[in-house]
């Protein structure tokens, strides 16, 4: 366990150094969600007038959703680094070393989590500036961060697993581009699911993007439904664990094929 943590730390530091050397990439990741928040917020402003929407302002409703949506799309690219490492030979060098396989998955996920936390805080700040009010305060923000980090680990681990099996950037790009929008639209990110068609509601109920959004929205409210928050965060944690196991299996599949 001690070795796993130490290995994770050193591998994570490598990824964080890479990350810090790409200021443009960070900037785009931080600016893009703010644009979404501004655009969607303005475009769908009147949506709260729909009967049964039940929110005081659309920006307040939308902000946690945009945080989740941004986490989803940013973490989808986690596997890209793995593909680069496979192609350059760095991955083979790690695999013949005693480094824990878990650390090769956890390391990039730590970097993803750092990006997601930074990104989320900026979106929340912009939400505040646009007039959204969060009754949940600091606790609410912490719940939001926990939910999106867990979601990003799920997505990130699956992205790593896909990277290890597909080994081609094109495949990963196609899968991420193909899945981000459907996962977002088939969730409660943009709209109260009760206003969507029944089949969308049914799909959304099983969508982890919905779980993260529900947990965050509940924690932001005046009198949070902690049972709901706890159940959603637990589901997300279990899912992240499962995704981690899938990624570990992908390492074995890779080693069988070399």
């Amino acid at each position: 366990m001690k070795t796993l943590l130490a290995d994770t730390w050193y591998v994570a530091m490598r990824h964080l150094r890479h990350f810090a050397r790409q200021p443009w990439w960070i900037a785009i990741n931080l600016v893009q969600p703010v644009v979404w928040l501004g655009l969607y917020g303005a475009l769908f402003k009147r949506i709260i007038d729909l009967r049964g929407f039940g929110a005081e302002s659309y920006v307040a409703f939308l902000t946690p959703g945009i945080v989740v949506m941004s986490a989803l799309s940013s973490s989808g690219w986690t596997g890209m680094g793995v593909i680069d490492d496979l192609n350059s030979g760095v991955m083979d060098r790690f695999l013949v070393s005693p480094v824990r396989r878990g650390a090769l998955i956890a390391g990039p996920l730590v970097q993803t989590a750092c990006l997601i936390v930074l990104q989320s805080l900026i979106i929340v700040a912009v939400g505040l500036a646009l007039g959204a009010r969060y009754r949940g305060g600091v606790t609410g923000v912490l719940v939001l961060l926990a939910a999106v980090v867990l979601l990003s680990w799920t997505v990130g681990a699956l992205s790593i697993g896909l990277g290890l099996t597909a080994r081609q950037r094109e495949t990963l790009i196609a899968v991420v581009n193909f899945s981000v929008l459907p996962l977002t639209f088939l969730s409660s990110v943009l709209i109260q699911p009760s206003l969507a068609p029944t089949w969308v509601q049914q799909v959304a109920a099983y969508n982890p993007v919905t779980w993260a959004t529900e947990a965050a929205r509940a924690a932001f409210g005046t009198s949070p439904d902690w049972v709901l928050v706890r159940s959603r965060v637990t589901l997300l944690a279990l899912l992240a664990l499962l995704a981690g196991l899938v990624a570990t299996r992908a390492f074995r599949a890779y080693q069988r094929s070399v």
């Binding site: 070795t3 130490a6 290995d7 050193y10 591998v11 530091m13 490598r14 150094r17 890479h18 050397r21 490492d85 192609n87 350059s88 030979g89 760095v90 083979d92 060098r93 790690f94 695999l95 013949v96 070393s97 005693p98 480094v99 080693q255 069988r256 094929s257 070399v258």
Partner: protein, 327 residues
């Protein structure tokens, strides 16, 4: 006699039914440079990957540093250093960061790591460039960093998979020197694959020639060449001549055993260079073919390879390349 590396009966078939290893066996004594020589697709890299715990064989056994590769991979990993065919250098990190991370992964910490990294940077002539991103390094520098990274944890066995492929002659000579020094002064066992006949000849103490996933010959480079008794005569004609005429002239000359003809070039395996040379010259002169030059050499690894594999090295190389392409 203790062996640092023992491989016996390794078999590996890739998906799609391509058999990379077909019962490959060899043994390497401690402290020597051992070469695995073969054309593209012969199974060199696959055997190295199995010995280095990266890949698993379908059948067969392997021991490295006295440890079972299949049953104790974690302990084997601490004992070996690895320099892959593709560089394992992280191009987006500095030379120093690359070495430090490699050290951390093997459990080196603090002052021990600092001094080890400083030593290696100095020794491989990278101290000046230590703070630069590896992306800015020349091919030779990157390769030296690769080797340095493979040595961070003072392994007892070092694997080098085609270490000099793609290097310019100067960088290659420099690396050869460094590899020789490793085995001589540090008592390291080095297993290297190469598809340069010259490299195997110059660098290795023992050699296994691999073809189609099997060892077809093994021994010291001199032993292998000595199996091909006699010398090689290289004759350059002043003007091109029809091959049939040349063959008819030289084929019957005393002591000529094998003949290969190029456009103006004639290559003959002979029992004794000194006695055969005048006979060959006389035979050519008799047919009015003028000779521009004549050289007598010992057989090279080229001859050794084609004798054991039953085909010319360059041809096998091309075949292997297309096989890889299909994979």
């Amino acid at each position: 006699m203790t062996y640092a590396i023992e491989a016996s009966g390794l078999v590996k078939t890739y998906r799609g039914g391509i058999r990379a290893l077909d019962g490959l066996s060899f043994a390497v004594s401690t402290g020597m440079i051992f070469g695995v020589l073969g054309p593209n697709g012969a199974g060199k890299s696959t055997s190295l990957k199995i010995l280095a715990t990266l890949s698993r064989p379908d059948a067969g056994d392997a021991c490295v540093a006295g440890l079972d590769v299949l049953r104790q991979p974690d302990r084997v990993r601490h004992a070996i250093g690895w320099v892959g065919q593709r560089s394992g250098v992280d191009a987006e990190a500095t030379g120093c960061e690359n070495l430090r991370l490699q050290g951390h992964v093997y459990g080196l910490r603090g002052r021990e790591l600092d001094s080890r990294v400083a030593d290696l940077l100095e020794r491989f002539g990278l101290a000046q460039a230590a703070g630069r991103l590896a992306r800015t390094y020349s091919g030779g520098m990157q390769r030296r960093l690769d080797v340095a990274m493979g040595l961070v944890h003072r392994p007892s066995v070092l694997f080098l998979d085609e270490p000099t492929t793609g290097l310019d002659p100067e960088a290659r000579a420099q690396l050869w020197e460094e590899i020789t020094r490793l085995a001589n002064s540090d008592g390291l066992t080095v297993l290297l694959t190469t598809h340069y006949l010259e490299e195997a000849d110059r660098l290795t103490a023992q050699l296994a020639i691999v073809d189609r996933g099997r060892v077809v010959a093994a021994g010291t480079p001199d032993e292998l060449k000595a199996e091909l008794r006699g010398d090689v005569l290289l004759v350059e004609l002043a003007e091109a001549a029809p091959p049939d005429t040349v063959r008819a002239a030289v084929g019957g000359a005393d002591g000529v055993r094998e003949l290969a003809l190029g456009d103006r070039l004639l290559r003959a395996r002979v029992d004794h260079g000194a006695t055969a040379a005048p006979a060959v010259l006389a035979a050519l002169e008799a047919r009015r073919m003028r000779v521009a030059s004549l050289t007598i050499t010992r057989p090279s690894m080229d001859e050794v390879y084609s004798r054991h594999a039953g085909r010319a090295f360059a041809q096998a190389d091309r075949e292997g390349e297309s096989k890889k392409g299909n994979r």
